[in-house]
C-alpha cells in the first residue's frame, strides 16, 4: 500500500494529463485545484485492474472538494457551491 501524502484540508491540484486507458479521474477537474475533504482508504488502482493486472500497490483515494466557480467558467449559483470527486493519489500534486 502506498502511503498517504495528503491530509484533510490540504490544497491539491489534479494533474492535467490525458493518458489512454480506464481512467476514473473526470476531465472536468483536470488541472483544477481543490481541498482534501477526507481520505477514503486505499484501493486497487483501477487503471491497472482494467488491464487485468493486480492493482497493487493500493493507492490512497481521496475525496477532493472543488468550488464550482473554479471549475466552470461563468458558473451561476452560490459562490460556495462545490463538487466533490474521488481522486486517487497518483493524480494529485
Amino acid at each position: 500500500m502506498v502511503e498517504a501524502r495528503f491530509k484533510p484540508g490540504d490544497r491539491v491540484r489534479v494533474r492535467k494529463v490525458y493518458p489512454l486507458g480506464h481512467i476514473r479521474t473526470p476531465y472536468y477537474v483536470r488541472g483544477h485545484s481543490g481541498v482534501i475533504e477526507r481520505i477514503c482508504g486505499a484501493f486497487g488502482n483501477p487503471e491497472e485492474l482494467a488491464q487485468q493486472r493486480s492493482g497493487e500497490p493500493k493507492q490512497p483515494l481521496y475525496r477532493v472538494r472543488f468550488l464550482q466557480k473554479d471549475v466552470w467558467p461563468g458558473y451561476v449559483g452560490n459562490a460556495g457551491d462545490a463538487v466533490e470527486v474521488e481522486i486517487f493519489q497518483h493524480w494529485l500534486e
Partner: protein, 197 residues
C-alpha cells in the same frame, strides 16, 4: 417476455447474456441456481432499505452520528449488508443541499436503493448535474434558495453515496415506519426533499 406468445428474436445484449450465462454454467463456474439467487437478491433491493436507514437516523441521534462517520458500519448494524464498496452518507442542512451523480458511468448505492432509474444513467443528467446543478434541480421541481450551498458528489471510484435529507417539520411523534414512508428514492439521490402532502 416469452409467455406473451409473441415471438421476438433476442436483442444483441439478451443474446450475449444467455450465451455467457450458459457458457459459465457449462464450464461449472456458476450454477443456474446461483444466478437466479443473485437476480432475486438484486430485485429485493429497493429504496425502502435506504428509507429505513434515513428514518432510523432521524429518530436515533447516535445512529445518525455513526451513519455519517461510517455509513457501511451503521448499515451493518441494521442488518443491511453493504458489500465491498464503502458507503458515504452526506447530510442535508438548512445551509447545504447534497446531490449525487456518477459522471463516468452509473455508480449508485444499489445496496440501499436498488436499480437506478433511467434518468440517473442518462447523459443529460450525468453531464448537467455537475455543470448546472441548480437548473437540474429546478427541472425536478426543487427550487433551492440562492443562499443554500449545493454540494454535488461525483461517484468516480470506490465510494457510494446516500443523501440524508432533513426531517420535515410536522412529523413530530411519527413512528419509524411512517417516517420511512415519506423518504423517496429521489430524496436519497438529492433531487427531491421529503414532503408531507
Amino acid at each position: 417476455m416469452k409467455d406473451s406468445g409473441d415471438y421476438q428474436p433476442y436483442s444483441y445484449f439478451q443474446l450475449m447474456e444467455v450465451s455467457l450465462r450458459e457458457l459459465l454454467v457449462e464450464k461449472g463456474i456458476v450454477t443456474e441456481a446461483q444466478v437466479e439467487a443473485t437476480v432475486e437478491d438484486m430485485r429485493n433491493r429497493t429504496p425502502e432499505r435506504g428509507a429505513r436507514v434515513v428514518a432510523r437516523a432521524w429518530l436515533d441521534g447516535n445512529f445518525r452520528k455513526k451513519l455519517l462517520e461510517d455509513g457501511t458500519a451503521a448499515c451493518e448494524q441494521l442488518g443491511l449488508d453493504v458489500p465491498a464498496l464503502r458507503l458515504v452518507v452526506v447530510e442535508n442542512t438548512p445551509a447545504v443541499h447534497n446531490m449525487i451523480v456518477c459522471t463516468l458511468c452509473s455508480c449508485y448505492p444499489r445496496m440501499l436503493l436498488g436499480i437506478p432509474p433511467d434518468w440517473y444513467k442518462s447523459r443529460n443528467y450525468r453531464s448537467r448535474a455537475v455543470r448546472e446543478p441548480r437548473a437540474v434541480l429546478a427541472e425536478f421541481g426543487l427550487a433551492l434558495p440562492e443562499q443554500t450551498k449545493i454540494r454535488v458528489h461525483d461517484s468516480t471510484a470506490d465510494m457510494r453515496y446516500l443523501v440524508l435529507p432533513m426531517r420535515p417539520t410536522g412529523t413530530e411523534g411519527w413512528s419509524e415506519e411512517r417516517l420511512a414512508s415519506i423518504v423517496t428514492r429521489d430524496c436519497m439521490v438529492g433531487v427531491a426533499v421529503p414532503r408531507l402532502d
